[in-house]
Amino acid sequence: MSRILTVIRQPLVVALVLIAALLYLGQALSPGFASGGQVLRLLIVASLLGIVAAGQNVVILGGREGIDLSVGGVVSLSAIIAGNVMNGADSGIVPAILACLAAGAFFGLLNGLGVTLLRIPPLVMTLGMLGVLQGLLVVIRMGIPSGRAAPGLSSFVTQPLVGGIPGIIWLWIAIGLIMAFMLHRTVFGHRIYAIGSNEHAAYMAGVPVRVMRIALFIISGMFAAVAGLCLLGYSGSSFANVGEQYTLPSIIAVVFGGTSLAGGRGGYTGTMAGAILLVILQSILTTVNIDESGRQMVFGATLLLLMMFYGRGRAMRA
């Protein structure tokens, strides 16, 4: 009995069961919801969120109240940069990727330096950075046109690539494998868990805590930049604050996947399931005609509910 309970409390199991249940519910509400094409479309949307959440995941795992609230701003910025650099031409894809990654890394670096050198709490630092990015977006918007996605990028995101599955889903699967390898089979990954579990002990064991923390924010910025690029491919052209909708869901996906907000516990597999779950939930809410503000409320309530559920489970085990 207790073993069954342990299995049930596994966040990944919970997420998978909920995914199946929500798909069933969606199908009941609107026949065709769980059809192959529709599920594929949901997965494309989920992979965009999942890529943002990968960065969010490592920052949260690193502990000391690690969180990155600036991801939404970086997604928006990256979409605009990409749109302008490629401006509808396939030849611009590679320069656009480089420019986006550089921008994501730059803002991640700023976050990391603020948190480590200036000792600003991550919540405050990244929230401030989000404000800076939003202002920057307004300025950029006044000066230059929004730009268009290259056809190659759009088809990578929306059209089947190999085995009837779009490139972005393959990209997401690859990111999943890389994340799993990084977290469990590299020294870097073990050090993420070490600083997240007991920062001082990690320091005493020679882990370069500051460098690690800066690296985590850079990774988060770069993942957000990749997501912004793909988002441009998905929607064809970018518009202001297109990335805003990713900040809160990226955190919820991570928590859904069983990563502790206190750091040091969790992984990316659960986060992937969490991202899929959220996207299905969002889709169902749209199907039953709940507007954006209602969806935001449901998301917020979901996060709080999750904190209660997992928080309690952990306390009982400790």
Binding site: A194, A201, A202, Y203, A205, G206, G264
Partner: protein, 501 residues
């Protein structure tokens, strides 16, 4: 007239008997000194009086009336005031607020009466006016004060309780000479007012200067109470140590001399920093150099500073012949230095992570690894754990599933894959069971035999006497005495520790 009497008080924490039989009698108008080594039970006895520990058995009488003290608040109501060794001040509040914190004057049932508070606090601040030093004022924030000034505030706070019975647990550790003198004058005033004072200090000269009688506690038992005027320091220490104090370290102990054939493993010259000053010593390859003395006399601060995790203001550290002076633990580890803390929870255990990940961090760093292959790591981790007789079921179980002793073995095992040149042990056996201790010391001696230089600080004298080739006794942040050969006796260790710096 007897102010306070305790008889047959005992207290057990689980299986450990902290206090077996505590007796104490404090008269009105006396300063009663309480003496005993670390862990002898005197703190527990004080806590029983102050109400923060409920005794399992025994009687407490105040003014010949039996009382039960149910908590700190009740103790206060019974007329007991206490100075806490771990300062209990609010850092962001002013000096005067801290002094009156226990009983803030209230007006209209709701508001703090600031005028009365100022008046009341000023009375105690005036007592130390001439010795408090620069920057000390009624409205200064406690957090901005120097350590000695903070200690004065704590003293004023205790005095402000105006209790008939007062306990001062090491009140002078941070004070300078003039401040101590002033404090003693105030204590004499308290005596004239017929109050009873319990005084704990490790400085023999202070005890002689202010104490009337002394009660000696050893192994949780009250040994005797003496008139200080009729005794001398030597006999007091002899009573604290017990019968076998003059015996040289036991037969199993380490040899007094190490074949210093390979030269020095580490040399420290005139090192000063936060918590220690002007420390110089040399540890030879293959030598176990013990650090003794009372708790918190700079031993830990020194070891952490050598390891790059503390502050060094001047002096130098050499490993072999080269300058060492580590800037961080990372730097220290790369250059062959190892550090094991007794405070596992803070400094050692990467909680919630598998055992294997708790052993590998040093190996990662020293071998500059990027990829962690479990199969390859296992071949290195398992022998390291086995050499300590560590009991574990799987390398992938979380470290928290182990007992304290086994956790500490895991932490030590991390230093055994890539051998360091110097091993710093900072009270490594704190809170671990006897068999784990035995395993640990067997390993330490073996490492020394293999040529490591080892610095061992231990709060348990028996561990030092049984394992160290030489012992440096620390007092007030510097080395007060070196014990070698046949001088390594319990008695000498105590005497050096309790002498004034």
């Amino acid at each position: 007239m007897t102010k306070l009497r305790l008889s047959g008080v005992s207290k057990a924490y689980g299986a450990t008997l902290a206090l077996r039989r505590g007796d104490l009698e404090v008269m009105a108008g006396e300063v009663h000194v309480l003496m005993g080594s670390n862990g002898s039970g005197k703190s527990t006895l004080c806590k029983v009086i102050a109400g923060s520990v409920r005794p399992d058995a025994g009687k407490i009488l105040i003014d010949n009336r039996p009382v039960t003290i149910t908590g700190p608040h009740a103790a206060h109501a019974q007329g007991i005031g206490i100075f806490y060794q771990e300062l209990s001040l609010a850092a962001h509040r002013s000096v005067e607020e801290n002094i009156c914190l226990a009983a803030l004057p209230i007006k209209s049932h709701l508001f703090v009466d600031r005028t009365l508070l100022k008046q009341r606090a000023a009375r105690y601040i005036r007592l130390f006016e001439e010795v408090a030093g620069e920057g000390f004022s009624a409205d200064a924030l406690v957090g901005n004060l120097r350590p000695d000034q903070r200690q004065l505030v704590e003293i004023m706070k205790a005095l402000a309780s105006e209790a008939p019975i007062m306990i001062f647990d090491e009140p002078t550790s941070a004070l300078d000479r003039a401040q101590v003198d002033r404090f003693f004058e105030i204590l004499r005033d308290l005596k004239r007012q017929d109050r009873g004072v319990i005084f704990i200090s490790h400085r023999m000269d202070e005890i002689k200067a202010i104490g009337d009688r002394v009660t000696i506690i050893r192994d949780g038992e009250t040994i005797t109470t003496l008139n200080l005027a009729e005794t001398d320091a030597a006999s007091v220490i002899r009573l604290m140590v017990g019968g076998s104090g003059d015996m040289p370290a036991s037969q199993s102990s380490a040899p007094a001399v190490v074949n210093g054939k390979d030269g020095a493993a580490m040399t420290v010259r005139d090192l000063s920093g936060r918590g220690f000053r002007n420390v110089s010593f040399e540890v030879a390859k293959g030598e176990i150099l013990g650090f003794g003395g009372l708790h918190g006399q700079g031993q830990s601060a020194l070891l952490r500073a050598i390891f790059g995790a503390g502050s060094i203001s001047s002096g130098e550290v050499l490993i072999g012949d080269g300058r060492f002076d580590a800037s961080s633990p990372r730097d220290a580890i790369r250059r062959g230095c190892a550090y094991v803390s007794g405070d596992r929870g803070r400094d050692g255990v990467i909680s919630g992570r598998p055992i294997i990940e708790n052993v590998t961090p040093i190996h990662y760093l020293r071998d500059r690894l990027l990829i962690a292959r479990p199969s390859k790591l296992r071949d290195k981790v398992v022998p390291a754990l086995q050499s300590m007789h560590t009991k574990f079921q799987s390398l992938f179980h979380p470290i928290n599933s182990l007992s304290g002793g086994n956790q500490q073995k895991v932490i030590i095992a991390r230093w055994l894959i890539d051998r360091p040149d110097v091993l710093l042990l900072d009270d490594p056996t704190k809170g671990i069971d006897l068999s784990a201790k035995a395993d640990l010391f067997a390993l330490i001696r073996q490492l020394a035999a293999e040529g490591l230089g080892i610095l061992l600080y231990s709060s348990e004298d028996a561990e030092l006497l049984g394992n160290a080739n030489r012992i440096l006794v620390f007092n007030g942040g510097s080395i007060s005495r070196e014990l070698t050969g046949g001088d390594r006796t319990r008695y000498n260790l105590y005497q050096a520790a309790y002498e004034a710096a």
